[in-house]
Each structure stands twice: as structure tokens, then as C-alpha cells.
Amino acid sequence: MSATPQLPPVAKLEQKTIVDMISRGKRIDDRGIENYRTITIEAGLIEKANGSAEVHLGKSRVLVGVKVQTGPPFPDTPDEGVLTVNAELVPLASPSFEAGPPSEEAIELARVVDRGIRESKAVDVKSLVLEKGKKVQVVYVDVYVLDHDGNLIDAAAMAALTALINAKVPKMEMKGDEVIVKSSHHPLPLNNYPVAVTFAKVNGTILVDPSLEEEQVMNARLTVTIDKNGRICAMQKGGQYGFTVEELKRAVGVAVQKAAENRTKILAVAKG
């Protein structure tokens, strides 16, 4: 069951300061309304993973590991490999995270990141088949939040894409019923580079890349995932309020521009 969340208390004065500044076109961390915090991306930190990346988005930190293993395909897609995205909001990342089964926040995070990768057909799942209907490669994308200072969706989506580009997969062949793992490696075949851009609506102002404090006072949230061709491949609205039609149309336009900027940063690191 999904229940209205108990937001951590933000001091009334702080809340008022944040909202007042935003309505004057300013933000408490001195950013512009449509500016991201500093983004740093690092690829390939976990040797035991096929691919990995860590993104710092301001003070938010998200680590993603990609593991490629083998398993059966889904019965309705016998000629496609499997892609799964999971997110862990580990308790070390925030006082509001608890150990235990995934919260709805974690499920939503994983599913929004998943939707961007899946719907843009970023991973070429057709190329992951070892034996049709029997054995395919399974790509596990595990999102690990290390420090939560807001906008986990964008940080996780950037880290996931970087980790996928970074991934090296051993060559695999079927010999009878067994999978033979060769010593040669190749990059994971990718067709697209989806990038998520998240907006928060605070008191009628739409801002890009909300920090944790801004998320705590926001009325609604919107994520738009843009593919390499400038098309929308996933969207998700969150929060207790809504957006007007005009606000949505404008946000989508901004998202295309912001996604292109962030994609350049990702590709520079991942392919560098």
C-alpha cells in the first residue's frame, strides 16, 4: 500500500527562505533555476563488476554496478536477453533510509531508470541470446545510493548509462547445455544513450535538479528521459500536486537541452 509520506521536518524558517528565494528566481545554493549542480562522473571503479560508474551530483552520490550473467529468457521474448534494474537505498546514505525490503521510493527509482534504458532500446537485447528460448545473457543494473542529497533519479540514470557503456562482457558460447566463457571481452552492445532530467515545482516555479532541501518543499516532481535523437522515451510525474499543460510543454523543451549537455559529459568520461 502506498501512503502519504511523512516528510522529515524542515524548519519553518528554512522552508520559507527556500520558497521565497525561488519565487525571486534564486536558489539557496546560488544556482540558476535551470542549472544542474556540479556533476562528476567516474567509470570503472569496481573491478569485479562488468561495468561500474559513480556519479556525484552536488552532494548526492550514486554508484551503479553492471553484472552480466546467464539465465533463461522470459517465455514471451525467447529471442531477447534480459535487462533488470534494481535500486538499493542503503541506510548509510540518509537518516531516512532503513534496511529491509525496498521502499516504494526505491521501487520507483529503479523503475524510472529501467524505463529510460528499456524504452530507448539502449541495450541491444537481441544480441544477448546464446540459445534461443533457452539461454540468454542477463544484464543486472544495480543502483546503489551512497549519499542522498536530492535528485537521485538523474544521478542514478547517469551512473547507470555510464556503467553500461563502461561494461566489458566476456565472449560466451554454448557447448551442448553448458555456457563456455571465453577470455576475450567486448563492450556491451548499446544502441542509445538515454538521459533523465528531473524538475521540481516549488510554489509555481519549475526548477531543474532539485536538491534534498528543495525536494522537501516541492509540490510536484517531473522526470523526462530523452534519448540520443532528442525524443522522449520515458516520463514520470511524482509528488502530491500537479503541473499545468503549459508547464509540461515547457519542461519537455528544457529537458531536451539539459539532456544533451549531460549526455556529452557522460560520453566524454565513459568513452574517454
Binding site: 500500500m1 502506498s2 521501487i107 523503475r111 517531473l222 534519448d227 525524443r231 502530491q240 499545468t244 523543451g253
Partner: protein, 258 residues
């Protein structure tokens, strides 16, 4: 099996005359049936059929919060559970809630939060149960349409009814209110919930591939459809009270005769 099998040749989603597999035009809704107040024990309830969707929604509350710690001091908590019956889809669905159902429970709740006057009932819970008895495309939207009727039926003060409808892209064309096979074999799905008087989109999700122009056009089509559904919702509510009124008058007349 009622679900049309359309796998290999998805060109049949729209024929050469622009007619869809179920005979609809691109901007045409599936037949919708709305009923209000059909469960005995619930404080409010609604039943909705949209295409092959058959959905029951019940509202309990405002009632005491259990467990107590979830209560909020300044407003009612809304709790929502979207759940699919095991027999609602082709392959039996495990009744345990899936990740998809967790997510949909959240977005349905968030689509209704803006219209419910929760601050009138501090420390209480309003429970919303959306049971999908049979699933066709667009069950989350039909669920929202039904849920706001059930809330109104429970007499919970609301700013407005929320109506919802999906728009999608099939064979390169925008099409309203996707059916199951159109959702599955189409190129994009964009469910929208809309509050007409406030011009507020309270649910928006998307998967697939849309250009910016298609999105802008599609959003407008979905909003128009929501307005149509909104009128049907009001009519369904009125119908319930008209029937109550008529039954009372009838009863009084028989008493006078006796």
C-alpha cells in the same frame, strides 16, 4: 481467450482506412460504464468498465489510523492499493503485489492527493482500494477515474473529480485510450490524469518513443478526453442520487396510498 493475438503482424493495429483493430477511430474512447455506490460495506465505492477493464474501487474513511504512527498531525493520510486479481490477465498473476503494482499504487495516490481536502481530517486515514478484476490497456487510468468517483461517493470533500485517460502511438499515429494489444505492440503509452477546473495534470507517465511535437499534441488529446470522461463521472454521480430520490418518492407515494 478474449485477448486478441496480434504478434507477428503488428501492421493490423490500424487498417488502411485509419480504423483500429477494435473498430474505433484514432481519437475515439472505448465504451465506458461508470457506477457509483455499489458495495455495501465500503464508505464509498465505484465500478468502472472501460473496454475490457473491469475495476472495483472502495473507499474506507476517514477512519482512525492503524498503525498510529503513520498518522499526520495536520492532515489525513491517503493510502492506496492498486491490485490485480490473479485471473485478470492471460497468464495467472501471482496475487502478491509486484513492483509494478507498488509503483501504480503510488502514482494513483499522488494523482488524487491534490483534490482531496485532507486538512479537514487530521490524524485520520482514507483508504483507497483499487481491484482490477479484468485488465485491459489503461487500467491505472480507469482506476483513477473510478477512485475519484468512490471518494466522492464516500462524501469526502474534494476540490474536483479527477479524470484519467491514456494516449499512445501505434504505427506512427497518435491514438486515444489504448487497448491491451495496442499498448503491447504500439510504440508509446502516455497515461494522463487531469483536473479540468484547475488545469492540472496530476498523473503523467510515459514509455516508448515520442517526439516533442507528438508529446505536445498527445497531451492535448488526452486532456480533451479527460474532459469528456469528467462529464461522464458527474453524470454517474448524479444518476446515483437521482435514483435515491426516486426511490424515496416512490416509497412515500405507496405509504400515502396505503
Amino acid at each position: 481467450m478474449w485477448l486478441e493475438k496480434l504478434p507477428e503482424h503488428k501492421t493490423e493495429l490500424i487498417d488502411s482506412k485509419g480504423v483500429r483493430a477494435d473498430g474505433r477511430k484514432l481519437d475515439q474512447l472505448r465504451p465506458i460504464k461508470l457506477e457509483v455506490g455499489i458495495l455495501d460495506k465500503a464508505d464509498g465505492s465505484a465500478y468502472i468498465e472501460q473496454g475490457k477493464n473491469k475495476i472495483l474501487v472502495a473507499v474506507y474513511g476517514p477512519r482512525e489510523a492503524h498503525p498510529k504512527h503513520i498518522a499526520l498531525p495536520d492532515r489525513a493520510v491517503i493510502r492506496c492499493r492498486y491490485h490485480m486479481a490473479p485471473f485478470s490477465v492471460d497468464e495467472r498473476k501471482n496475487p502478491a503485489p509486484s513492483r509494478r503494482e507498488h509503483e501504480l499504487s503510488k502514482v494513483i495516490r499522488e494523482s488524487l492527493e491534490p483534490v482531496v481536502l485532507t486538512d479537514l481530517y487530521p490524524r485520520t486515514v482514507i483508504d483507497l482500494f483499487v481491484e482490477i478484476l479484468q485488465s485491459d490497456g489503461g487500467s491505472r487510468c480507469a482506476g483513477i477515474t473510478g477512485a475519484s468517483l468512490a471518494l466522492a461517493d464516500a462524501g469526502i470533500p474534494m476540490r474536483e473529480l479527477v479524470a484519467a485517460c491514456a494516449i499512445g502511438k501505434i504505427e506512427g499515429k497518435l491514438a486515444l485510450d489504448l487497448s491491451d494489444s495496442e499498448d503491447k505492440y504500439g510504440e508509446a503509452d502516455l497515461p494522463v490524469a487531469y483536473v479540468p477546473n484547475a488545469n492540472l495534470v496530476t498523473l503523467l507517465q510515459m514509455d516508448g518513443e515520442l517526439t516533442i511535437e507528438e508529446f505536445n499534441k498527445g497531451l492535448e488529446m488526452a486532456v480533451e478526453a479527460c474532459k469528456t470522461i469528467h462529464t461522464m463521472q458527474r453524470e454517474a454521480l448524479k444518476k446515483k442520487f437521482r435514483e435515491i430520490k426516486e426511490s424515496v418518492i416512490e416509497k412515500e407515494e405507496t405509504e400515502v396510498v396505503a
